[in-house]
């Protein structure tokens, strides 16, 4: 983190979905966090923990059910079309599935230029010029502009997705599992590209993923989510060196290491059971049902996020400040 300027701040943001029969799915349940300028915030968690929903709320695709989203200190009211339009110029998203997120009937050039057209940027000639520049930036060449998405491989499509996100010169990009659909040898190409772009253009990322090694590699800070709640938030070196929340500990321990000796030594504490349903959750700590250390207090009272070490926040009754 170069400077500590708040770019985005979330204040007690909730996103509930009505799933019928009077039931509510609490996908994101009261999240408060700041994203600083120029940093990468990694968000990890199992499927169904609400990390993608959070990404979409931050990006302005979903209206939060309650809570406040601020951009550079100003509240963004997503219900106002004008606000939303202006916000979409600043925040962009790269989607997980490079096969589903590109319109198969549009040429790559049109896909990339669409955002610029909507925001009335540049003249038509300048836009074409810019498309070529962007293709070059992401490692494709300008002949590709007239082709259709199906002519590209997964890694190349993800590059098109990145070029589209960059087209309107955003300050902030949500990367929603941008590499999980790609092969190992292609993943590192995309990661390197994202890092390089961040350095060159001073972008801020929110990087959502379930591959913890990659999140550690790319992020400055990491937020661990469980069932719509933030359970731990810390600088990425700190979260690995001093993992405090029992869920984060289990999550880190269950990642297999590509090294047979270390794998053999590691006696992982394997977490039993599955992630419970986020529909009408029980009161108390949501992890209590699977937590090896859970006590009565955990089942009765929801723990708040507290600063345990400098910049290291944990939501657990059992972790005491140092």
């Amino acid at each position: 983190m170069a400077e500590k300027n708040k770019l985005i701040s979330l204040d007690n943001v909730c996103k509930y979905f009505n799933v019928g029969h009077g039931k509510t799915l609490k996908a994101v349940d009261g999240i408060t966090l700041n994203i600083y300028k120029g940093e990468t915030l990694g968000v990890v968690g199992e499927s169904g923990c609400g990390k993608s929903t959070l990404g979409r709320v931050v990006m302005g695709i979903y209206h939060p059910t309650s809570g406040k989203l601020e951009y550079e200190g100003q509240e963004v009211n997503l219900r106002k079309t004008k606000d939303r339009f202006q916000y979409s110029k600043k925040a962009q998203i790269i989607f997980q599935d490079p096969y589903a997120s590109l319109n198969p009937r549009m040429t790559v050039g049109d896909i990339i230029a669409e955002g610029m057209e909507i925001h009335n940027m540049y003249t038509k000639e300048k836009r074409t010029q810019r498309v070529y520049e962007l293709l070059d930036t992401v490692g494709l060449n300008k002949e590709h502009a007239n082709r259709f998405p199906h002519e590209f491989s997964g890694g190349q499509r993800q590059r098109i997705g990145i070029a589209r996100a960059l087209a309107i010169e955003p300050e902030f990009i949500v990367c929603d599992e941008p590499i999980s659909a790609l092969d190992v040898s292609i993943q590192s190409q995309v990661i390197n590209l994202l890092k390089e772009l961040q350095e060159r253009l001073g972008l801020t990322y929110m990087f959502i993923a379930h591959d913890l090694n990659i999140v550690k590699y790319i992020s400055d800070r990491i937020a661990v989510m469980y069932l719509g709640n933030l359970v731990e938030l810390a600088p990425s070196d700190d979260i690995y060196a001093h993992t405090l929340h029992p869920y984060s500990q289990a999550l880190l321990a269950s990642v297999p290491i590509p090294d047979p000796d270390k794998e053999a030594q590691k006696r992982a504490q394997v977490l039993s059971g599955d992630v419970p349903s986020p529909i009408n959750p029980k009161p108390g700590c949501k992890f209590a049902g699977r937590c090896p250390k859970a006590c009565d207090r955990c089942r009765a009272e929801t723990p708040a996020l507290r600063e345990i070490r400098p910049n290291h926040f944990v939501a657990c009754h059992l972790v005491q400040p140092e």
Binding site: E46, S47, S153, G155, Q156, D183, V184, S185, I186, Q187, S188, Q189, I191, N192, K195, H210, L212, N213, I214, K216, Y217, I218, D220, S236, Y240, A250, L251, A253, S254, V255, P256, I257, P258, D259, P260, D261, K262, E263, A268, V270, L271, S272, D274, V275
Partner: protein
Amino acid sequence: MADVLKIENLHVSFDTYAGEVHAVRGVSLHVNEGEVLAIVGESGCGKSVTAQTIMKLNPMPPARIKEGSIDLCGEDIVAASEKKMQDIRGRLVSMIFQDPMTCLNPTMKVGKQLTEAICQHRKLSKEEAKKEAVRLLEMVQIPNAAERAEQYPHEFSGGMRQRAMIAMAMSCEPKLLIADEPTTALDVTIQAQIMQLMAKVREETGTAIILITHDLGVVANLADRVAVMYAGKIVETGTAEDIFYRPKHPYTQALLKSLPTVETSRDEKLVSIAGTPPDLFMPPKGCEFASRCEHCMKVCKKHVPPTYEVSAGHKAVCWRLHPACPTQMKEGN
């Protein structure tokens, strides 16, 4: 130790409208009794096709075994009729698929699906088969097994469905279990549970496992031996230690280096393999990795490299291992 499976020079092609796809191009491998062989490779490298050919699950046509032999516990698979295969599947070899959501029949109770396989191969009464099904579900650590056997797959979570799949695959105690990306669709905490279960199943029943995956972490956890596949060929085989600590093929080396680990510092740049795998409609003339290889020589583009045995059981297919190759090129990592 006896071989459970021995594949020699297997070629499998698919006839499509666009031409013939050479999916598997000369694969030779063997699996010893009770060992875990991992086949690692990118999507489209032919690892799943190889595995499916062992069970003859590819519809033929369009698939075609062009050459080679598959010997499974003394049975010749290439020549076997469909009727013979019915008998072999489940009894000698069975398979766990990647997606436990789509591989179970949604209209049948889980217990019923289990007894189906049992009744096919073992002479048991209905009652006994039912008991056996519950025992199998207990073996894969499904709580309240008797109750769960009466439920439908949609009532199971992803991890539990994968457990049920393992139970089904193990129901006739096959000599060989093929696990095709068994944990790819699962979350890390569930993945850890399933890997632990597979290790336990192997210990208890002594079945050999072919583990197909692209996750090198999973390989390090479970495998005794590893075969690395690229563009339809095995480019390197060896024990897990050989592959992870002494990789000889540039593809294996690059693959291992491209993964960030917990220790990778943020300032390091990840090693990436430029380019994409070759098109298998027109496989390249020389070494298939040549166009992406950082050590590529002239000979690599013209001639297919032979297999060199680096040490006992550790083989790699690369011109850099030729005795006449200058040493500095061999070392050049």
